[in-house]
Amino acid sequence: MNALAAIGRFTLGGVYHLGRCGVFLCTMLAVISHAWRRFALVVRQLYFAGVMTLLITLVAGLFVGMVLSLQGYYTLVNYGGESALGLLVALSLTRELGPVLAAVLFTGRAGSAITAEIGLMKATDQLAAMEMMATDPVARVVVPRFVAGVLAVPILTLLFNVVGVLGGYYVGTVQLGVDSGVYWASMQNGVDVFEDIGNGIIKSFVFGFVVSWIMVFEGCDTEPTAEGISRATTRTVVVGSLSVLGLDYILTALMYGGIS
């Protein structure tokens, strides 16, 4: 009986949370035009969110590309297919790993920081103070961070992909001896600009949107205590990362499922 009640409470709590999340999105989109009116703030947030995540994105991209190349080579060489190494690396990166990992890294690095920042602003009454100064904190604080996140994730994804392809190239050609012409040619023959790269960019926009939405929502929804902030930060990372992975499956099924 208690367990049943707990399940009910949990479900209702979840629905309630989701509902608030949706309402929050609407209030945010209603004043999204402030992103233009306060473009300097968006630039500032792009700096904090994007530039701060840049280094780990590049390093991660490099290693992912290198390890893909290594593993791919050992598998492909069994079938004499190492000439397709470039294709394997490029497709894995542009279709899946680039968008997913860049978004997950962004969530962990910038998303959690922004949730904590907004949560702290709430806990120290900064948001209430803005309201009392007749400034809408959603327009002033939330929208620039959200828009910057939506823009930063695709940019970081592109950089991740490029660095990954180059890392794969280094391992594949310099270390494993695949011909460099073959590496590029297999990529260029097999990677479609719209099907693969384009879809990857669409994915990264969707991920950027969802992750940014979650990070600002959790920030504003923080219970204004130290414990509340730490819980909100954790939730951003967990919910954000899982949403990216789950959405990736759905998007892949939508984009590539029908064809074949």
């Binding site: 630039v43 004499g80 542009t94 950089l159 260029q188 023959n189 790269i197």
Partner: protein, 160 residues
Amino acid sequence: MSNTATGGRKIELWVGVLVLGGLLSLGFLAFEVGNFDNARVRDGYRVYADFQNIGGLTLRAPVAVAGVRIGQVTGITLSRDSFNARVELTIARHYDNLPVDSSASIFTKGLLGAQYVGLEPGSDEEFLGDGDEIEFTNSSVVLEQLIGELLFSKAEEAAE
């Protein structure tokens, strides 16, 4: 609005670097990794070829002459009367001198690679134009069928 008075210059610079890096990456991916140059044969003419079996041929598969890409597959339909596969090939405009008696075959790149349409130029004086049909076609080699036939003949040999 100049609320970004503090450190504004450095921030703008870095964000500029970030955005520029993103754009350069996009260019790199489109032109070096992808095949934007020949991704879409925009300015091309269409010819048709009927095959008994196209195997694993897909949309956007390359069309090549002597291994040189000249176009791509832009449509695959099933003919209602003959139950043949009707493949639409779009060929770049400047390859306008393919003889009408050219033949089309479906090949596989490598043993397990993707399939493509190879054209073998004929010797006719007339050239293929938009909407024309390629008469001579060789279907895709279906590997399973081939292996099946091979095993079957071996089995017959053994039985004799």
